[in-house]
Amino acid sequence: MRTNDVMLQTATKVVTFIILMFAVHIFFAGHYTPGGGFVGGLLTASAIVLLMLAYDIETVKKIIPFNYVMMTATGLLLALGTASASIFFNVPFFTHAYDYFDLPLWGKTSLHSAALFDLGVYLVVVGVTMTIIQTIGEDE
């Protein structure tokens, strides 16, 4: 007999939002406080997993229409590209650059190329985790 998941689905709507916010927060906080692209990515993935638990794979695919392999590849390229930028300045690979900027509205912000690298990590982690879960989940 099938049971309905109304209670779970309702809670999920709120909870997923909370998790995603938290994931973004933890991603950006990484450089100064615990966190970073890796945990952020995994949290994002778990938010999607929660959606899959509450609804079903097809529905979630419709909501988030990403090809996760490409996401992985993009992440890899981003991380590699960030690190490789230093090649063009003929300084050792992976030399990061950072500076402080005064952005309107935002105030004084530090922009660090490591953040871009971390974004690559984030994308790879989300991509791979979701690839794995989705492929296993879809398999008969």
Partner: protein, 132 residues
């Protein structure tokens, strides 16, 4: 260094806050202990679910409240994550409890011998009848 300065200036307030924290955390700890007791002593999975989802949620919320107050008022560190965590637990714990309870029932785990009523059984049979 920062702590000591602050303590000198607001020692009375500090004491009050500390008492508040002690109360919150004590309540939380007691509830948590009760949860454990419940989980160990209660006869079947359904009653244990009851213990786990209600008292433990309350317990942990109290402890988190205490922690939040500690960091906010004593260390001047407003931590929104704690607030969110409290809200989160408030939303999810009952849902989780419900899910486990229903899952146990659906998978056919027997009720304790002392059970007097089983409403779910009636509901399910009714639904099955409708489907036929």
């Amino acid at each position: 260094m920062r702590n000591s300065l602050r303590e000198e200036r607001f020692s009375i307030e500090t004491t009050i806050v500390n008492i508040l924290i002690i109360i919150l955390i004590s309540v939380g700890v007691i509830f948590s202990a009760v949860t454990a007791l419940g989980l160990v002593r209660l006869p079947d999975v359904y009653t244990r679910t009851h213990a786990a989802s209600k008292s433990s949620t309350l317990g942990v919320m109290c402890i988190l409240g205490g922690t939040f107050i500690h960091f906010w008022l004593l260390e001047d560190h407003f931590n929104p994550q704690l607030v969110i965590a409290i809200a989160f637990l408030f939303i999810t714990s009952p849902v989780a409890g419900h899910l486990i309870g229903r899952a146990s029932y659906m998978s056919g785990i027997p009720l304790a011998e002392e059970t007097v009523r089983d409403d779910m059984k009636i509901a399910i049979e009714k639904k099955k009848g409708e489907q036929k």
